[in-house]
Symmetry: C2
């Protein structure tokens, strides 16, 4: 690669990339602050509760939960330990896999999620969807699916949840 000229970004790409960096950082900060302030949890924790709440029996294997959330196993362990302290999640050994562990959403965790959801949705709408036309929302979805599918191919070994 050192021998060929780098394919620098053109002006439009450069502008888009800088806007992308600014917007994603500000949006992540915005959503996180709202949840911290109104529900006492960061966005990552909220997302974990959502995944569990939608899973049959409100339970999911830790390995799958890490993959859904796109975070590393060690970050997940840390988060689940904190959620256990709050009484929102408990861990159980997996019935079918001796090495596996399952995270279970408690009734209290479910209620915390129900209570946090309206304010969170309002924050996401106000910062993102209320600002976009339906066409922009559709294009944003296409772009983000393309990017995610390309970066997380089945079997990729360097993905966060496999590290």
């Amino acid at each position: 690669m050192a021998t060929t000229e780098p394919r620098w970004l053109d002006t439009e790409q450069q502008r888009t990339w800088r806007a992308y960096m600014a917007a994603t950082q500000l949006l992540s900060d915005h959503v996180d602050r709202q949840l911290q302030r109104d529900a006492g949890m960061p966005h990552t924790y909220y997302s974990l509760l959502v995944w569990l709440s939608e899973s049959p029996g409100r339970r999911m294997r830790m390995t799958e939960l890490a993959e859904r959330s796109k975070i590393t196993r060690s970050r997940l362990s840390h988060a689940v330990a904190r959620l256990e302290e709050d009484g929102w999640v408990r861990r159980e050994d997996c019935a079918t896999d001796r090495r596996g562990q399952v995270a279970v959403l408690t009734e209290e965790g479910f209620r915390a999620l129900e209570k946090a959801a309206p304010g969170h949705v309002e924050a996401v709408r106000g910062a993102l969807f209320d600002r976009l036309t339906p066409e922009q929302t559709a294009v944003l979805g296409e772009i983000m699916r393309t990017v995610a599918e390309n970066l997380a191919p089945r079997g990729g070994a360097d993905l966060p949840w496999r590290r």
Copy 2:
């Protein structure tokens, strides 16, 4: 807000939001891993070097650098302290403001940036722009500018760099 029905996301918005969360997390991880592996720095540090390199005299007030990077002052202080240890940045007192400090990109820091840039650009292209049509790139830019401008109004007190 407790008295009115929350404005839940519709199906399309829900799909877009989940794809957004997955893609932004994977892309951030991807770019960060590449820079860590090939240039020994996380993406945040790389961006700081870029901002300094483009500023007259390769120097910028710490407060402005935090605003450009959309990070908190304490996170910036931490990053700049690390970059100083590497010899890539040095801090100077501001000539016109006794309380202010200026970050200056060193010659060594500039060379580190020049060396890191081609691999970084290749990672961003491969993960994002090579996957998008020019129309998608343009729409993504519009969306991200709309989001960033809405979340970072002039004078907003709760923005990261004002905390």
